[in-house]
């Protein structure tokens, strides 16, 4: 399958500030791509360049084979965008908004079908200014679907929403993928990316610091799985001495690095037969969020240290 989005050596400067510094990634057609990064990392800038809302400084950007800035009019027929913090005419209803967008795009979508798939049918005739935050975001999603887009750009679509509204948006994203559309998603919620995304890229200080599927990123950048025992330091010392395993002590728990289930069983049976006191165990895996926080935090610590040195 060809790539829906192709980015090579993308650079964006704001005056002397380099917001995006030569990034590179591609998004396969029909996949869900999550673009992650802390605030100010260059996430929204990159997204806006892809949408044709901002010109790039340098590099090559192709969205559906088009240059978003110079061929924006053609591109906008084929993509749907919900910008971060979607705003619309105060006194216009979702149904009227869909009618308006259909006329602008020259499309003839089934308005009630669009409203029901974003779970907004009951508010079809409510003015925008009476909608809740989640309903406004759903209205944005509905408008983004009026032109039957090949790519949907969702810039932090669930920020500030309650869990039920967030899950409703997730369901829409899944259905977009089932229909063969490409979804480009930015989000602050790492669990959202982990659940929805086929591919993830993490951007930090204008650089991409990790790409791949969520599990690839976790295994490449995360810690190995750990067995976590509710036990004292004597257990940690015992495990290290007898099995040569890495064990750490923290707040009444002992964490032992284990690489597979056989190793886990060996540790558990050794501890059990040692006669030392312990009560329960869990197994710990890094989530995408753990990896993200560690990677971003480590880089910021490094930046702080180097700043301190100068």
């Amino acid at each position: 399958m060809p790539n829906a989005i192709e980015v090579r050596g993308l650079v964006k400067n704001y005056g002397t500030l380099r917001a995006v510094d030569g990034i590179q990634f591609s998004v396969a057609a029909g996949s869900v791509f999550a673009f992650l990064g802390p605030n100010g990392a260059g996430k929204t800038t990159t997204t806006e360049i892809l949408e044709g809302l901002r010109p790039k400084t340098a590099g090559d950007v192709r969205v559906l084979g088009l240059d978003p800035w110079t061929q924006g009019a053609e591109l906008h027929q084929k993509i749907g965008v919900i910008p971060q913090d979607f705003r619309f005419f105060e006194r216009i209803t979702p149904a009227e908004g869909i009618e308006y967008y259909s006329a602008l795009f020259g499309t003839h979508p089934d308005a009630s079908a669009i409203l029901s798939r974003v779970a907004l049918s009951d508010k079809a005739d409510a003015r925008y200014d009476t909608l809740s935050g989640g309903q406004k975001q759903k209205m944005g999603l509905a408008l983004a679907l009026t032109n039957d887009p090949e790519i949907c750009f969702l810039d932090e679509p669930t920020t500030g929403l309650d869990p039920a509204a967030r899950r409703a948006i997730w369901e829409v994203i899944r259905s977009l993928k089932r229909e063969g559309r490409t979804v480009f998603l930015t989000t602050h919620y790492l669990e959202e990316a982990e659940i929805l995304a086929d591919q993830v890229a993490i951007i930090h200080h204008g650089h991409i610091i990790a790409t791949g599927t969520p599990s690839e990123i976790i295994s490449a950048h995360g810690r190995p799985p750990r067995l976590r025992l509710a036990a004292g330091p004597d257990v940690a010392a015992f495990v290290q001495r007898t099995l040569g395993a890495t064990a750490t002590v923290e707040n009444g728990y002992v964490e032992v690095v284990v690489h597979d289930k056989d190793e886990s069983l060996r540790v558990l049976s050794a501890v059990q037969s040692s006669g030392l006191p312990w009560s329960s165990f869990t197994t710990e895996h890094d989530t995408l969020e753990d990896v993200f926080v560690r990677m971003v935090g480590r880089m910021d610590d490094g930046a702080l240290k180097s700043e301190g040195a100068t």
């Binding site: 044709g52 809302l53 910008p83 006194r91 308006y100 602008l104």
Partner: protein, 370 residues
């Protein structure tokens, strides 16, 4: 440019507007309010006394003296008889002007003889068109006294009549006649200025322009639909004010096709100025300030409430650089005086300014950031 897109944008503008009570008030109730207010204040039943400068050419005949005494007794005008070598019928108008008088009357020679013989005699009335309130008051008073004399002498047949001498037209204008074109100009200015400045600045701040940039709607289509919308509003406002002015205050207006170009071009101009002000401002707050700086001097100095010719000369110079002056002067020429040459000149000036501002507005107006 696609009409389908302009039409659908126009519909959104209309719905937004229809659901905004403040906008409805300013479009429909405010014009009536302002016509009523100024109409009652300035053309009310003349509590102020108007001085009528009289040149009596009938050698102070008893009939003419009686007529002037009756006029003085109406208590709405005060008769001031002048004489001497400097006051002659041929330079009466000039002398009135230099004496600062608004109303003058010549009682012709043979007034008594004609009156007694029941043959027609014409009084020459001189009025200052810029002081229409005095003119109207004086005309009413003189007409009333003349009617009384006619009734007394000849069972109401018109013997004494007023031949009005006027520099630009054949009828007497009242304040309301000047007020209506001025107020139409006022709404042509204020209705687009106040809302376009705000729309231009707040839609940019709220990202609505960005949102629209992701659709096939173009900037010129968007501007066109807004210009069309304010033209519709201008016609509604003008219609309401004319109907109210004519119906309630008996304004003498010729309502013809001549005013239409001014409604079109004037609205085009102020939508463009509003758009430009809102576009160059950094925030909605500074846009409002820029809008007010542009709007307020024009609101009062362009002949909206008072004729520009009644201003001191330096203020007239100021008025002549304000675009609204040419809209209102053109409306005056078209609706009151039928002076089409001057109306065409006014229209040309407004059109040129409008095109320049429109081009600048389109040039500076951006959907997207860079």
């Amino acid at each position: 440019m696609k009409f389908r897109r302009i039409g659908s944008d126009l519909k959104v503008v209309y719905l937004q507007y229809r659901r905004n009570p403040a906008a409805l008030f300013f479009s429909f109730f405010f014009p009536i309010l302002i016509v009523a207010l100024f109409g009652y204040i300035f053309s009310g039943a003349g509590s102020a006394v108007t001085t009528v400068v009289v040149l009596n050419e009938d050698q102070n005949s008893p009939a003419s003296v009686a007529f002037l005494a009756a006029l003085n007794n109406t208590s709405v005008v005060q008769v001031q008889v002048v004489g001497g070598s400097s006051w002659t019928p041929s330079n009466f108008a000039a002398e009135l002007g230099s004496a600062g008088a608004s109303v003058g009357l010549i009682v012709p020679a043979g007034f008594q003889a004609n009156y007694s013989a029941h043959t027609n005699v014409s009084l020459a009335l001189f009025v200052n068109p810029t002081d229409a309130a005095s003119a109207g008051t004086a005309e009413g008073a003189i007409q009333g006294v003349a009617n009384g004399f006619n009734l007394h002498a000849a069972d109401g047949r018109a013997i004494i009549t007023i031949a009005s001498i006027h520099n630009v037209g054949s009828q007497i204008y009242t304040y309301i006649d000047y007020l209506i074109p001025g107020l139409i100009g006022f709404t042509i200015l204020t209705s687009p200025m106040f809302s376009m400045v705000d729309i231009a600045a707040s839609y940019r701040k709220d990202g609505i322009f960005r949102e629209l940039s992701l659709t096939p709607l173009t900037r010129s289509e968007w501007l066109t639909s807004h210009i069309l919308w304010y033209i519709v509003l201008t016609f509604i406002n003008a219609g309401i004010m004319i109907a109210f002015g004519v119906g309630v205050f008996s304004a003498h207006l010729s309502i013809g096709l001549g005013m239409i170009p001014f409604l079109l071009v004037g609205t085009f101009l102020f939508v463009s100025i509003g758009m430009l002000s809102g576009t160059v401002a950094k925030t909605p707050e500074s846009a409002a300030i820029i809008g007010n700086i542009i709007t307020f001097p024009m609101m009062f100095l362009s002949g909206t409430f008072f004729p520009v010719s009644s201003f001191p000369p330096w203020l007239q110079t100021v008025a002549h650089v304000l675009p609204l002056y040419y809209v209102i002067d053109g409306l005056d020429q078209a609706m009151l005086f039928g002076n089409w040459n001057r109306a065409a000149l006014d229209l040309t000036i407004v059109l040129v300014i409008a095109v320049v501002v429109f081009v600048m507005a389109v040039r500076f107006f951006r959907w997207r950031d860079s």
